[in-house]
C-alpha cells in the first residue's frame, strides 16, 4: 500500500504517508475526498472485507500518500475495523496520523485519541465541524486545547474547505520533525497503576517488535482478546502468572475507560465553553418527528416514496431520450454502415454488442439518481434515524436496525447492498441480512417489471407493480422470520448505534458516493451484460442463421415441461428468465432478441400480450422478481460470507421460492379466471 506511488516522477525522496483516523460521523470521508478527489483508490484490505481507501495529494510540489483508516470508536479488538486500524499503525508506521474529531462531540471523539496516543505515533488533531459545534452552542479554543494536549490542533470546516491547507501543513511539519512531538499522555488511574507495572515487568524483554511493551500490558489489562492470545501463545512461561493477575482484575476495563474519560474532561475543561444544558437544538426538533414510533414510520414511508418518485420521474424520460437519441440511431447507422458486411457480422454487432451496451447505458440514469438521493440522506444524517425507526420491526427477524440500511440500499442495486452488510458486526445477523438482500427488488428488476407489466395488465399495471413489490417484501419478512427461528434459533443481537447531528450535505461527498457505487456496478455487471448479449445473440443465430432452429431454441424446448407448470410453454420466455441470472435487466434484452420485432410488425409488448395469458404473465413477473440473484450479486455474496455453502444456500433458496411462487401464482390466476 505504501509503495503505491513509488516510481512517480514527482520526486525521488521517500513519499510521506499520512493516515486519517477518527470515529464514525466526524466527516473523515469528506476530508479524505476533499484532499484526494478522484486521485483515490477504493479496494479492500488484504484478505478482509473492510474497505480500504488510499489516495494521493500533490502539495507544494511534493507528493503525499493518504490512507483513510476505517472509522472506529476505539482500538480494542472488538471489530475487524479496529484490528485493521491498529495493525496498520503498528506495522506500517505512517509518518503522521491525523486524528479527525467532530468538535460538537469533542469528549467522546477524543476517546480514540487517547488510544492513538498509547501507540506512540506522531499525531495531530483536526477539529472538524467547527460550524456545526458553534450552532450547537459550543465555543472551542483550539490554541488552549493544543497546549493542554501537547499536540497540534487545527480547526477545520471540511464541508466548506476551511482549514484543510493548515491541516496538511501541520502534518508535513510534524512528519519532517518527529522529534518535536511531545504529547501529554493519559495515565491509568492510581488503583491499577501498580498492577499495570507488574504485568509490564512480566512481559519485559519478551515482546516482539514493532509491538511496544507498555501497549501490550495495557491491552492485557483491558481484556483485549487478540492481545491475550498473542501473549498466551508466545510467552508460555509467564502466562500463568499474567492470567492470575488478569483474573483478579477483570473489572480493570471499567477503571481504564473511566480514567481516560476523566483525563479527557480535564484536558478540555479550559478550552471548551459548553451550551446551557437542555438547549433545544435543530436535531432535537427534527427528531421529535423523525424518530417517533408512529410519525417516524410515516416519514420513512414518505421518504421512501420520494426516493422512487425522484428516481423514476427524472430517470424515465432520460432513459427514453438515451434510447431514442443515441442507442437506436447509432444501431441503425451501424446497420447501414455494415450493409455490405456478412449478415452474421452485422447481427453480432447490432443485435449483440450494441444492444448490450445500450442496456447498460440506459440503466445508468436510474442508478445514478437512486444513489444520489440515498447518498444525500446518508450525508445529512437521516439514514441512522431510519434504522432506529425500523429497529422494532427488524427484531421480528432477529435482526436490529442496522440491517435496515443495506436492505434499503438493495432497492438501488443488490451488489453494494451485500457489501453494505459490513456495518453489522455480528456474524449471524450479517448472514441473515445477506440472505435477505436478494428479496429486495433492485432498480434493474423494477425496471423490467415496469416495462413488462403493461403487456399483461394494461391500465391496471401500476397496481400490479405495487403488488409485486409488496409480494417481495412480504416474502422477505416471512423468509427472515423462518430462517431466524429454524437456522439461527432466534438469538437476539445488541443494537448500539450513534445518531449523528443533522448537518448540511456536501456535494463532493455525495458525488463520490454515487461515483463509487455506479462505477462498481459498471465494473462488475457492465462487462457481463455486454458479453452475455453477444453470446445470447450468437446462440439464437447458430447454427443455421435462424432463430427457431437455433441452439437456444433447442435448450428452451428441453426446458418446456418445467415452464408448463406455470403456464409458460413458450421456450423463449423461460430462456429470458434464465438470462436474468447474468443481469436482471437482461430479461428485456433477451425478450427483444427472441421476439424479433420486425418479423411480426408488432412491438415487443404487443407481441407478449398475444403470446401469454395474464395468469402466466403474472407468474412470470413474480418469478422474475424472486429469481436467483444475478452473477455480480452471487459474487458479492461469496466475497462477503467467505463461504460457498452459504452462497449456494442463497441461490437454491431463491430458486426454490421463485419456482414455487410461479406455480402457485399461475394456478391462483387460473382459479381467478385470469387464464383467458
Amino acid at each position: 500500500m505504501t509503495d503505491m506511488i513509488e516510481g512517480s516522477s514527482v520526486n525521488k525522496e521517500k513519499v510521506i504517508t499520512l493516515a486519517l483516523a477518527g470515529q464514525p460521523n466526524v466527516g473523515k470521508s469528506t476530508i479524505f475526498n476533499m484532499l484526494t478527489g478522484l486521485n483515490q483508490h477504493v479496494g479492500n484490505w488484504p484478505g478482509k472485507t473492510v474497505e480500504c481507501k488510499t489516495g494521493s495529494l500533490e502539495f507544494n510540489g511534493k507528493l503525499f500518500n493518504f490512507v483513510d483508516l476505517p472509522g472506529t470508536y476505539s482500538l480494542t479488538a472488538n471489530s475487524e475495523e479496529e484490528r485493521i486500524t491498529r495493525e496498520f499503525i503498528i506495522h506500517e508506521q505512517p509518518d503522521v496520523v491525523i486524528a479527525i474529531v467532530n468538535a460538537a462531540v469533542l469528549e467522546r471523539n477524543l476517546y480514540l485519541v487517547t488510544e492513538l496516543l498509547a501507540l506512540n505515533v506522531p499525531l495531530i488533531l483536526g477539529l472538524n465541524m467547527m460550524d456545526v459545534a458553534a450552532k450547537e452552542g459550543f465555543r472551542i479554543d483550539a490554541k488552549v486545547l493544543e497546549i493542554a494536549l501537547g499536540i497540534p490542533v487545527i480547526p477545520v470546516v471540511a464541508a466548506k474547505n476551511q482549514g484543510l491547507r493548515e491541516l496538511i501543513e501541520a502534518a508535513i511539519h510534524l512528519a519532517e520533525a518527529p522529534f518535536s512531538f511531545k504529547p501529554n499522555l493519559p495515565e491509568i488511574r492510581l488503583d491499577h497503576r501498580s498492577v499495570l507495572k507488574d504485568v509490564q515487568s512480566l512481559i519485559s524483554g519478551k515482546v516482539q517488535k514493532p509491538y511496544r511493551e507498555d501497549w501490550i500490558a495495557l491491552k492485557l489489562l483491558e481484556g483485549d482478546n487478540e492481545v491475550i492470545s498473542i501473549v498466551k501463545n508466545n510467552m508460555v512461561e509467564v502466562w500463568p502468572q499474567i492470567e492470575k493477575i488478569l483474573l483478579q482484575h477483570e473489572d480493570a476495563i471499567l477503571d481504564i475507560t473511566g480514567g481516560r474519560y476523566e483525563w479527557i474532561a480535564h484536558m478540555v475543561r479550559a478550552a471548551v465553553f459548553r451550551p446551557v444544558p437542555g438547549t433545544i437544538v435543530l436535531t432535537d426538533r427534527v427528531d421529535r418527528i423523525a424518530t417517533h414510533p408512529f410519525w417516524g414510520f410515516v416519514l420513512l414511508l414518505g421518504v421512501f416514496a420520494f426516493v422512487f418518485w425522484v428516481t423514476y420521474q427524472i430517470a424515465a424520460p432520460l432513459v427514453t431520450f438515451l434510447n431514442n437519441s443515441i442507442v437506436f440511431p447509432f444501431a441503425s447507422w451501424t446497420n447501414a454502415l455494415l450493409g455490405n458486411a456478412p449478415l452474421w457480422f452485422s447481427g453480432l454487432v447490432v443485435d449483440g454488442l450494441i444492444s448490450g451496451v445500450g442496456t447498460v447505458l440506459t440503466f445508468l440514469p436510474v442508478l445514478i439518481l437512486f444513489f444520489a438521493v440515498l447518498g444525500f440522506l446518508e450525508d445529512i444524517g437521516y439514514l441512522s434515524r431510519a434504522a432506529y425507526v425500523m429497529d422494532r420491526y427488524m427484531h421480528w427477524m432477529g435482526l436490529h436496525g442496522r440491517s435496515f440500511m443495506p436492505l434499503f440500499l438493495g432497492f438501488g442495486c443488490n451488489v453494494p447492498a451485500i457489501s453494505g452488510t459490513r456495518i453489522i458486526e455480528e456474524r449471524k445477523p450479517k448472514l441473515l441480512t445477506i440472505l435477505l438482500v436478494p428479496f429486495v427488488p433492485c432498480t434493474a428488476r423494477l425496471g423490467v417489471i415496469t416495462f413488462l407489466t403493461p403487456a399483461f395488465f394494461g391500465e391496471n399495471s401500476a397496481f400490479v407493480t405495487w403488488l409485486l413489490v409488496a409480494g417481495n417484501l412480504t416474502t422477505l419478512l416471512i423468509v427472515g422470520i423462518i430462517i431466524d427461528r429454524v437456522v439461527f434459533k432466534g438469538s437476539q443481537t445488541p443494537f448500539i448505534m450513534e445518531m449523528p447531528l443533522y448537518h448540511l450535505p456536501n456535494a463532493r461527498t455525495i458525488g463520490l458516493y454515487v461515483w463509487h457505487n455506479v462505477f462498481a456496478f459498471i465494473k462488475k455487471a457492465g462487462g457481463f451484460i455486454v458479453i452475455f448479449s453477444t453470446i445470447l445473440w450468437a446462440l439464437s443465430w447458430l447454427p443455421f442463421g435462424e432463430l427457431n432452429s437455433s441452439l437456444l431454441a433447442r435448450f428452451g424446448l428441453w426446458l418446456q415441461p418445467v415452464g408448463r407448470l406455470m403456464g409458460l410453454s413458450d421456450w423463449r420466455i423461460i430462456v429470458s428468465l434464465l438470462s436474468s441470472f447474468i443481469a436482471k435487466e437482461n430479461t428485456i434484452a433477451s425478450l427483444g432478441i427472441l421476439f424479433r420485432i420486425e418479423e411480426t410488425g408488432l412491438s415487443l409488448i404487443e407481441n407478449l400480450a398475444q403470446t401469454i395469458v395474464p395468469a402466466a404473465g403474472l407468474a412470470f413477473l413474480v418469478m422474475q422478481m424472486l429469481f436467483i440473484p444475478c452473477v455480480a450479486t452471487v459474487a458479492a455474496i461469496k466475497q462477503e460470507t467467505a463461504s460457498w455453502k452459504w452462497t449456494i444456500f442463497s441461490v437454491l433458496l431463491m430458486l426454490v421460492i421463485s419456482f414455487s411462487a410461479g406455480i402457485g401464482v399461475y394456478n391462483l390466476g387460473l382459479w381467478l379466471n385470469l387464464g383467458v
Binding site: 475507560t257 437476539q492 445488541p494
Partner: protein, 79 residues
C-alpha cells in the same frame, strides 16, 4: 432504599441518571464503555416510548440503544 439502581430501560424521557453498573456480557459492556457510558457518567434519556429502542444523550452525543441492551445498564436517578 429511595435511590436504588434500576435498569436504564425503565427511565422516562428527560430523566437524568448516573451509570451505576452493567449486568450484560463483556462485549456489549465494552462497547458501551467506549461510547462514554462509564461508571458514574451522566446520561440523559431523550426518548423512551416503553417499547422498542431508546435514545440517550451521553458525552454530548446521541446514542440509540436496543431495549435489550438498555435493560442491562443499571442507573441511579439524579434528583
Amino acid at each position: 432504599m429511595k435511590n436504588e439502581a434500576k435498569p436504564l430501560s425503565e427511565q422516562r424521557a428527560k430523566s437524568r441518571v448516573l451509570v451505576h453498573s452493567f449486568t450484560g456480557g463483556k462485549a456489549v459492556t465494552n462497547r458501551l464503555l467506549v461510547l462514554g457510558f462509564t461508571i458514574g457518567a451522566e446520561v440523559t434519556v431523550l426518548q423512551n416510548f416503553g417499547t422498542g429502542p431508546i435514545i440517550l444523550s451521553v458525552k454530548d452525543s446521541r446514542v440509540a440503544l436496543g431495549r435489550g441492551e438498555a435493560k442491562k445498564v443499571m442507573v441511579k436517578v439524579i434528583d
